[in-house]
Symmetry: C2
Subunit: 375 residues, 2 copies
């Protein structure tokens, strides 16, 4: 959900020094991956990028986990984290970022061919949980000879992965930064439910069995727009767009070309949202989007009434939670409470709040401020 | 946007004493209605309902203005307002409620036949503003011999009409109650923009030229669900649905019937939203929905930089504004600021805040509390 338009001047400046990875490649799991849902994923591929060099002691590794529509190229979407004196150092750290299973940026997802059937998964791609992702990622780190991570960090669904790492692989993690995330609350589940329908209502949806060149574009664009509302804040929208007519000169009072009255000229916020939807359909796949929404929906470490002490009591890492004051997808209060629940299980966990009008997106849009909080 | 499922026990009890109108009928304007948008509406019909009796002095009339998907039958959707000792009295008041132009509940709207062409308007229905509605309604009141209203009141788009009455017909209004409304802010415009697209993306949309029996149902249902998110609050959703699986027994971890993984069982909030969408498509028309969204979008008394003193300085009525603490479609702060702007123009206007977790819908879901505030 990187959104260049929301970047602060500092972040924009940072984008000019986008980092190239030291290496970008694929790791194919040697075995099938048994999924929490009961199904298997046949020898999935993980696409990953690394920045910096692994030292001889192999103790300088950091794992960055990306958000919904992100990629392994963390240097492109989170450059300020690498700024001199910031969170990560290209000189001292070996930074790994792995594309999530289900995505369309290189790892196995709905657009991949199932080696068992020779067919593209499409909508038959199974539910891959956050834990499934962590188990696959752990095998990749094993293959690189990395036993221990000095830090794992991520925002949104990336934060889900970071925390799951500390639960599932407690001995391997020294510290984790978990940003703008908690298990989705009812409002978050509702937003994902609407986005799913937006895609499935598209005339080109075809039950998900569409060809790549015939994506359900309108639906994916609308899903993205619904998402955008939850990534931003009313305050930001008001300041930036207010009730202005669309900047291309459309008039909300005018009738449209066909003389019809029901669809008139757009307001500026409408033009902005349409533009965001359009940008997104050029870079993402509808089935991949659905896959990751489902991964996100189903993450809840305490699912099925598991005891907090049992689940979180395993954690050995030091945890830093960050909530964003204007976030309404993962409200700061939810993040604070979640951190408190984990602390109550005896974990060394603190909570820091980012004061920002940028909403959920602030962890991408205001990177300098995030860096300050994480230092 | 009446929603029985959100009603408090008191409101539910009230619903058992739904009021029948004294009279329900149509008024056809004798002339064309010149619209603010520059077009005309040929001799439109207003469907209305009245409750109680007009007294001999004709000075006991009250006008109630309904919200987006409401009807003239105010006794059915706002019964608690008529409770003994509440805001309105069937013994003393003559209550009129008029279906908005553009609606599908009896007044002229996209589903009506244009007498000029003999064709159903469909998507060619023109933009009808709040002021256009008030001008038409004034002619209906004239025909009933009513010069003056002791009170005009409404919530949401109904409140837009109530305030516009006090601006456009200042000598005719004694008091107005304007509930949970201000000109739509950028977030509100964004929500309407998404709802519009939800309808237009439906395979059955057909540019709006659909037959009544072939509505763009999925799109209208999704539009309603997007709306529901903005009518409720995260707090209410969390309390009522949390992360529970759908109460019909679906399992969010299960694969669906076709074996596909991308669409699994729903959470309870998903089942609830689908149910709300389904209920809505059985009672509303997609073009009518679009028409009223546009009416709502374009309401801004200070449009075009008009001076507040000039526009609001005309008001002679006593105004009571009500904001709802958990409303995020029309945030309480916007309503408070709007009331302040109007007060600054020399108007007798107060602001009261309804403390409720029900969100925007609270003016329908918690009628007893609203009545208390309005007394």
């Amino acid at each position: 959900m990187t959104d260049a338009e929301t970047a602060t001047p500092a972040a924009l400046a940072a984008k000019t020094r986008v980092l190239e990875p030291t290496y970008e490649g694929d790791f194919v799991l040697p075995q099938h991956l048994d999924l929490e849902s009961g199904r298997i994923l046949a020898k999935p591929t993980l696409h990953y990028a690394v920045y910096g060099r692994l030292n001889a002691a192999r103790d300088n590794a950091v794992l960055v986990c990306h958000a919904l529509s992100g990629s392994a190229l963390v240097g492109s979407w989170w450059p300020e984290i690498f700024a001199p004196g910031a969170v990560l150092s290209l000189e001292h750290d070996f930074v790994i970022c792995i594309n999530m299973l289900g995505s369309c940026y290189g790892s196995t997802g709905p657009g991949s061919v199932d080696p068992e059937t020779g067919l593209v998964y499409g909508p038959d791609f199974p539910l891959v949980s956050i834990r499934d992702n962590v188990r696959a990622q752990a095998q990749l780190l094993d293959s690189l000879g990395i036993r221990r991570l000095r830090l794992v960090l991520g925002g949104s669904i990336g934060g889900m992965q970071a925390l799951e790492w500390t639960i599932h692989e407690p001995e391997r993690i020294e510290r984790a930064a978990i940003i703008a995330v908690a298990p989705l609350c009812a409002m978050g589940l509702a937003l994902n439910h609407l986005q799913r329908q937006a895609i499935q209502n598209d005339p080109d949806w075809d039950g998900g069995y569409y060809l790549p060149q015939r994506q359900p574009k309108q639906g994916l664009g609308l899903a993205r727009q619904i998402g955008m509302l939850s990534y931003k804040s009313a305050e930001l929208f008001e300041e930036r767009f207010g009730r202005n007519p669309n900047r291309n000169g459309e008039d909300p009072w005018a009738q449209d070309n066909q003389g019809g009255g029901l669809v008139g000229g757009r307001f500026d916020i409408g033009g902005y949202l349409d533009h965001q939807g359009q940008r997104f359909i050029d870079r993402f796949d509808a089935n991949a989007y659905l896959a990751i929404l489902r991964t996100m929906d189903n993450w809840d470490p305490l699912r099925g009434g598991r005891a907090s002490e049992e689940v979180f009591g395993r954690i050995r890492a030091k945890l830093n939670f960050v909530g964003i004051s204007s976030d309404w997808l993962f409200p700061a209060q939810s993040v604070r409470q979640f951190a408190q629940t984990i602390r109550s299980a005896g974990v060394n966990a603190d909570y820091r709040e980012m004061i920002s009008a940028h909403g959920h997106d602030a962890f991408l849009a205001e990177q300098v401020e995030l860096v300050r909080l994480l230092q």
